[in-house]
Structure formats: structure tokens, C-alpha cells
């Protein structure tokens, strides 16, 4: 192995430490309370994971959270970028994939499906 190859292995292997390294650019959070799961959050989560992994997005983490209280709009998906949180409601598999491609990768939030955008202060 040459020193350059060592660098290549490092870059490739870094992806495996993505969750542990803490330097995540975007976090996609799926509401996985009882109502979320009943409305199909499991499938949404799977679709998100598939899409993120197919595109090898090493700086994106997909995680889950509990009930947010907005049962009527479940499944709810939040996109956390720095201080800004974008909340999508009534997400299905197709929208989940669009969120990854259009919002996370290309930086164009899907305006007509957003229910809230908030800034986290401090």
C-alpha cells in the first residue's frame, strides 16, 4: 500500500464513523411516536435512510424522536441545519425522498409541504 492509498482508505472509512464524529451538517429527524408510526413513519424513515445511503451523504444523520403533539400532520419530519429547523408534515415515502434530494442535497426546501420553519436561538 502506498501513502496515497492510506488516504483513500481513510476518506472511505470516515463515513462509517459519521454518526460518532459529531460533525454532521444536516440532521433529519422523524417523529416516531405512536401516532407517527401509525401514520407510516417507519416507511418514511426507511425511505430517508435508503436515499441518504444511496447518495453516500456522510454528513447527514437520520434520527428519530418522540411525539411532537401534531398528530393530525403525522408523519412529521424535521430537517435541522445549524440553527434552522424546517418541519414537514404528512410525509410519505415519495416526499421523504424528495426532501433528501431537493432540500438536503440541492438546498431547495419544498415550500408547499412545510408546516413550520423556526430558528433555534443560542
Amino acid at each position: 500500500m502506498r501513502p496515497e492509498e492510506l488516504k483513500e482508505i481513510r476518506e472511505k472509512a470516515k463515513a462509517r464513523l459519521g454518526l460518532r464524529s459529531g460533525d454532521v451538517r444536516v440532521r433529519i429527524v422523524v417523529g416516531m411516536g405512536t401516532s407517527g408510526i401509525a401514520a407510516g413513519a417507519r416507511e418514511v424513515l426507511k425511505a430517508l435512510l435508503e436515499e441518504v445511503s444511496r447518495r453516500n451523504l456522510t454528513d447527514v444523520a437520520v434520527t428519530q424522536t418522540g411525539e411532537r403533539g401534531l398528530a393530525a400532520k403525522e408523519p412529521v419530519v424535521e430537517v435541522h441545519e445549524g440553527d434552522r429547523i424546517t418541519v414537514y408534515g404528512e410525509v410519505d415515502e415519495a416526499l421523504a425522498r424528495r426532501i433528501v434530494v431537493e432540500h438536503v442535497v440541492n438546498g431547495h426546501p419544498i415550500q408547499d409541504r412545510i408546516i413550520e420553519v423556526r430558528e433555534v436561538v443560542g
Binding site: 460518532r20 435512510l49 434520527t63 428519530q64
Partner: protein, 597 residues
Amino acid sequence: MSRIEVLLCAGTACLSSGAREVKAALLEALAEEGLTGEVRIVETGCMGPCELGPIMLVYPEGIYYIRVKPADVREIVREHFLKGRPVRRLLWAGELPESKEIPFFSRQLKVVLANCGRIDPEDIEEYIAVGGYEALSRVLTEMSPEDVIEEIKRSGLRGRGGAGFPTGLKWELVRMAEGSPKYIICNADEGDPGAFMDRAILEGDPHAVLEGMAIAAYAVGAQHGYIYVRAEYPLAVQRLETAISQARRYGLLGEGILETDFSFDVEIRVGAGAFVCGEETALIASIEGRRGEPRPRPPYPARSGPFGKPTLINNVETFANVRHIVVRGADWFSSIGTEKSKGTKVFALAGQVKNTGLVEVPMGITLRELVYDIGGGAPNGKKIKAVQIGGPSGGCLPESLFHLPVDYEALTEHGAIMGSGGIIVLDESACMVNVAKFFLEFTSEESCGKCTPCRVGTKIMLGILERIARGEGTEEDLVRLEELGHMIRDASLCGLGQTAPNPVLSSLRYFRDEFLAHIRDKRCPAGVCPDLIHYVVVPELCRACDRCRQACPTGAAQGTPGNPPYRIELSACINCGACFDACPFGAIERRPGRKER
């Protein structure tokens, strides 16, 4: 892709508290919930807080579950992994803090231990991902052997095995020594009771040690290395074997490393666990296949090691520091610590302290910070009275000296040593005569027998201590102990004998009162020495439950059920403490002082 990573501590401590069973339960629960592909389990090396094991660190949140039992796992999977609600009752301190905010971690500085508990030690690519073998690559392509030695010298790194010899200087001596081939030895014969730093590094980050050895080999001009590790560390041996074979496969050990003309390979030598084999000349004898006995120095191993060849011997933790110095620079390293002690030190914290386990702190931190801020103080509200630092070669330092910094010179000056990093915290329930006796029992058993002062002298000292513990000592005995201690120290060949009297001498220096209480008053103030205590029933607390009478092997505990109080007939009592352990009401008290016969 996984959305959750579960880092499961698979250090020896967590394995023995049931980490394997937890993993099995986890796999089963994940399969049940259909989460198998979404959750990745990584077995890591020691995370540090061994007291709290089995430990599970869950990412991306970075939260710790502690004392996890297989029965808890399903709840974690269903509530947390599926629904995103962490199981509070299993969290560290019931909170959801970042690990940085847990005082046990926030006061530490993890350099050598940074990968322990973070990466999978059996996967070389994870090591490479966190910058592994970058230092070796840089050394081989950009630095001359002299540059490397200069960098290590400038860093101020000193031997972490205990004696604190400047590492760069040692490397230079081996480089300049005439003879070929030259050898590298990693001393992993960790033998102090209660010390397990080296084991944790070998188990948690074996490649860091291999990389350090390879860099050293390049610097001194060696091609062959030995790791001398004890057979009592089967997991460390197994993970080292895995690491060595992976490194060979990736061309990071063996012929033409990283396609340069530098070749280096490593062989494991498993020792039988004799304490004396941690001494370098005894270790060399053992590697050569001879009986592990020390020989006089000079010649030092730098000139004449195994098979008479120039050899560099460093400790596990020393080697593990090397890659960080190369990558981050000597200036960075020497900015940490005190004037003469640079970098960090790993300690195994044990004894009467809340957070027992493995910690890494910057040199210069005070003993007080180590014991109270990181260790959390005594677990039962008792008063801490001393730390035993440096194991059987070290000494006891009283609470009044807790302002001392962790620094080679400061500790030595006060009768202890840095040692390899074992720290045993002693509270008021510890008897210093008994502690001194414990360590001397250890060294007298481990003495190889070559030098009479060590072989016979430690036995005589032990006999005197036993006499004092029985209440049959005289004040002259204390003078005798000091005389013998100095003689053994001066007349023994190797470090074992030269330091064996330290625990006794330092206890006499700081805790003479306790020795005198045993001798003059025939009482053991801490209530430990069985001949110098007695048991009594506290009448107000006794409920006449009869448990003490049933537990007593000699019929000394007497009374009638339902008719308190019971009493202990001291003439029949053998001070075994069975009644004390059996009483559910705390009605039996252990008091210092010999019972009246």
C-alpha cells in the same frame, strides 16, 4: 446505512459484568422490531467508568446507558431506537447530558484513550478513519530517523512504565548503539495489583501501540519487535493478534511498509505473569526463553538486549503517545503538563471512590481533583484519608498532600512514585498497617529470589508487620522496619527489591500514629486487624431475631429469640465477624481495641 450506532464497551470489565449477554439480547430485540439494518453495533475497548458496566454509548445522541442488563434491552430498542424516547431510568445519572458535561469525563483529557470506547479495535479501517497510521506515513515519507528522535526529545515525553526516563534520549541511545539487528520491545507486562491501563489500551486501541512501535523502529533502525504481554490478558492478546495480521495485510507491518524500503514486523511473547518480568532485564531473559531473573545493569538494554543486541524497551502507554506527538507536534505535547512532566497520564482509579475505572488526565492536575472531581469522592460519605499511588513500588500519600500535582518529581519527593498508573483510594475504614502488609505480601511472594536482601528481607519485614497487626509489636519494630527497608532498597539488584519497601516506609512516614495505636494501645483504629477489634451488641438496636446466634460458629453470640438484647461472650468469640454480617439491624458493632479475655 445505519441511523443509530450502539457502541458497546467490550473491555474486560464490561465483559465480565455481562456485555456479551447484552449484545445477544440486543441482536434479538433488533431482529424482532425489524431494525437490524438500521442499528449498527460496534464493540469497543474500555470506555473508562468500569464501575457502571455494562455500558452502552448510543449515537447520534451520544448518550450513555449504564448497568444494562439483557432484560433492559427490549425496552431500549422499542422506546429509544424505535420511538426516540431514551429510557431515563438507565441513563447515567438519569440525565441526558453530552458526555462532556459528565464531570467524570469533563475533567479528563483523552489523548491516548481517545479511541478506546470510540472505535472498533478489531477493525483497522476504523483506526485509519480516525487518522491511524497517518503518523507512520508522515515519518516514512517526510522525516529522517534523526528528525523523529529530535521531535520526541522536544516533546518531553517520558517513560509511562513508571520510572519516567526521557523517551527521546532512550531512542537516541539505541540509535547510536553499535550492533545489528536491533530490537524494539513493548513492555506490556502490567503487574501492579489494581492497574489495568495497558490492558485497556491494548484491548481498545491495539493499532496505536503497533504504530508507535513501528515509528520507534524506524527511528532507532530496528526491524523486529516483541510485545511482551502476560497470559492473564487473553483478550488483549487476541485483539493484538487480530491487529497485527490486519496491519500485515494492509502493508503497514512487514516488508517494505507503505512501499518504502522500511521493513518492520512484530511478534507477541506471552509471559506467565511473574511480576518481576516487568523489570526490563528479567523481561529480556524471559523473551530469550530463560528464567525471568534480572541481571545487573550496565550494560543497559540499549546496548545489550535480547541475544546481546541493542534494544529499545518502552511501555505500552509510551508507544501509544508517539503517533500524537508526530501528528500534532512536539510543541502541542509539551504545552500540556508541568515543567518536567509533559502530556497526559492514564490512571486506573480503584478503591473507596465513587467512579472507579480508567481515566486520563493532563500532568499537573492535583490529586484532589483526581480523587474528588473525577473520582467523585468516597461512595459512602466516609472521609478519604490517603491514596496509594504507584502500586507495590509506590507509596501512600495522606489527604494533607492532595494538593500535590501529578508530576514525576513531586510524587517521588514525597515518598510515592508516578508508577504505571494504579491509584487506590483509601478511606477511614482502611488500616494502613494492613495496606502496607498487603503490598509486602505481594512483593515478598513475587520476589524472584536472586538477591538475599529482597528474598529474605521482605519476608522479615512482613513478619514484623504481621506481629504488629496482632498487637504484639514493639516500638523498636518500627525502627527495625525502617532499617530493613533502607537495606533492601540499597542492596537489591532490580526495581522490584529497590522499591518493595516503599509502601511500608511511606506509611510509616505519614501514618506512624496508626502503627503506634496497634503497638501501644493494642487497637486497630480503622477496625480492620482481626486481633485488635472486638464485637459488641448495641442493646437498643437488638430485636432478638436470633440471626447472629445462628451465624456464630463458636456459640459466642447468645440469647433467646424474642427476648432482647443478645450478647456476645467474648471469651468464646474468634472475631470472625459472621454476626456482624448477619445482623439486619446494625445492632452489632465492631470496635477498635482488643477484647478483654
